[in-house]
């Protein structure tokens, strides 16, 4: 049956509208459920007191600290590695077989399920290097997990810097490195930062890779080598073992709100930074 173009257009629009609404509704539904069940649990005490009685009582302070440490270490390691790789791939090599292999490798790395990263971290960091279940093992494992994200987003950001900028910079007598640090990276910064935020989000939310490498001890972490439990692992254990659903929802709410705040804050900072630059 043939439709008149106008009718066709209306039907197509209605479908696209429907699909978009479904996507947005799913997000809103998740947020609503978690916030409705979680927000009543939130209080200053919940955030600042350590868990007691396996998490049935008390707050989640130690898990917040562990999450921050782990994420911090992951990004401390992954950012220079990822941005460095991206710079190498875009600025120091000619597009060829080698760059394609490296890029393919990064893409494969991105597709590996996180539990495999957990197993890898367990074998390498926990056992072989004898870091044990620790903040360090967990952080390093997360670093490798988010590395491809940082490489690819940084690479795209660096590639989108107009080639003319490099040409001008070279013609004014700069070396390659000066061109990279003074022109390319500042222009690519918003894109690179976006990759880092995505990685922070993934690190905070990661459970499988962490449970294998950082362990699940409910103590307050005292050094790089203490085993500790992050918020998402805490949530997993509370929910799965039926320890306390209200506390689990409270933890989930803190996780979701934290990620929201990080995103909003970073977009705000980026906006401000770019405005100032231009």
């Amino acid at each position: 049956m043939l439709l008149r173009p106008k009718t066709e257009e209306k039907i197509a629009q209605a479908f696209m509208y429907f699909f978009t609404s479904v996507a947005v509704l799913v997000l809103l539904f998740i947020l609503a459920v978690i916030l409705k069940n979680g927000v009543p649990q939130l209080s200053l005490e919940f955030l600042t007191r350590n868990p007691a009685d396996m998490g049935r009582e008390g707050g989640i302070f130690s898990t917040v600290v562990a999450t921050i440490f782990l994420t911090f270490i992951a990004l401390l390691v992954a950012t220079p590695l990822g941005v460095g790789t991206a710079i190498y791939l875009t600025e120091y090599t000619i597009e060829g077989r080698l760059t394609r292999i490296i890029r393919f490798g990064a893409d494969c790395l991105a597709g590996i399920p996180s539990i495999i990263f957990g197993l890898f971290g367990f074998i390498l960091f926990v056992n072989k290097l004898k870091f044990g279940w620790s903040i360090l093992s967990g952080g390093l494992t997360l670093a490798f997990m988010v590395l491809p994200t940082i490489i690819r987003t940084s690479e795209e950001a660096i590639k989108s810097v107009p080639p003319a900028y490099r040409l001008v910079s070279f013609s004014l007598g700069s070396t390659r490195w000066q061109t990279i640090t003074r022109v390319v990276l500042p222009s690519a910064l918003p894109g690179i930062v976006t990759g880092i935020i995505l990685s922070i989000g993934r690190s905070i939310g990661e459970t499988a890779a962490v449970i294998f490498t950082a362990g699940s001890a409910l103590r307050m972490p005292s050094s790089l080598f203490s085993s500790s439990r992050t918020m998402s692992v805490h949530f997993y254990i509370l929910a799965k073992e039926g320890v306390s659903m209200p506390k689990a929802y409270g933890t989930a709410a803190v996780l979701v709100i934290a990620i929201l705040i990080i995103n909003i804050l970073t977009y705000y900072l980026m906006e401000k930074y770019i405005r100032r630059k231009l």
Binding site: V168, F170, L172, G173, Q178
Partner: protein, 252 residues
């Protein structure tokens, strides 16, 4: 006539297997404006890119023969390319201000040498902008983004940015191709003043522009130098039929 400052000898350039410049031989003299005209893909821009060795950055770029600048063969391995590029300023067809303030654009090349004395930089900025004929238009907003300037202003900024490095040579690659007649005129006026202190090579698609401001003009065709002569001579009594045909608009 003075001693030649740029001597091109049996010079050929290749991109991969394609020969982009064929066996060029000519001289450039101090304080002249040498116009280079010719149809698209005749090797004009490639020639400029060879002079400051930006052509090196293109994979597969290869040369034969020599170009001597101030008596030195610029393709010898011991040549400091960074120093060479500072001596030979280049203005591109599209004005490309770097994404920073007007002030920072001008001092970009100066800062690369680690020169950071505020007063000195201020003087350089004012001098360069004066010479490029832009100072009066921007002196009150040096800290604003260079991207906010109009096309003509941006191109004069690019000229000022080169002057800040105190080069000996200025290469311009169709610098007014995207500009309106008034901006074009302003840039041509600056160039006439600048040739007192610099040697200028101007590649242009606009033959009338070469006729207006070049002392001598060279006609390139498919990588070959067809003819080079005093501008009035080349435009009125070209020695080669192809030059005549091009000037009359029969091809190109």
């Amino acid at each position: 006539m003075n001693e030649a400052v740029i001597q091109v000898r049996n010079f050929s350039h290749y991109y991969g297997r394609n020969c982009s410049l064929k066996n060029l031989n000519f001289d450039v003299y101090p304080h002249e404006i040498l116009g280079i005209i010719g149809p698209a893909r005749s090797g004009k821009s490639t020639f400029l890119a060879c002079l400051n060795r930006l052509a090196d950055l293109v994979p597969g770029s290869r040369i034969e023969g020599k170009i001597l600048i101030d008596g030195q063969d610029i393709f010898r391995p011991e040549v400091d390319v960074v120093a060479l590029r500072r001596k030979i300023g280049m203005v591109f067809a599209t004005p490309v201000p770097l994404p920073m303030s007007i002030y920072e654009n001008i001092v970009y090349g100066v800062r690369l040498l680690g020169d950071n004395d505020r007063k000195e930089l201020d003087t350089i900025v004012e001098d360069s902008l004066q010479k490029a004929g832009l100072w009066n238009e921007v002196k009150d907003r040096l800290k604003t983004s260079a991207l906010k300037l109009s096309g003509g202003q941006q191109q004069r900024l690019c000229i000022a940015r080169i002057l800040a490095l105190k080069p000996d040579y200025i290469l311009l690659d169709e610098p007014t191709s995207g500009l309106d007649p008034i901006s074009t005129m302003k840039i041509e006026d600056s160039l006439r003043l600048l040739k007192k202190d610099y040697t200028i090579i101007l590649v242009t698609n606009n033959t009338k522009q070469a006729a207006r401001i070049a002392d001598r003009t060279a006609f390139f065709l498919m990588g070959e130098l067809v003819e080079i002569d005093e501008t009035p001579v080349l435009f009125t009594r070209p020695a080669d039929k192809r030059t005549e045909a091009y000037l009359e608009g029969k091809f190109g």
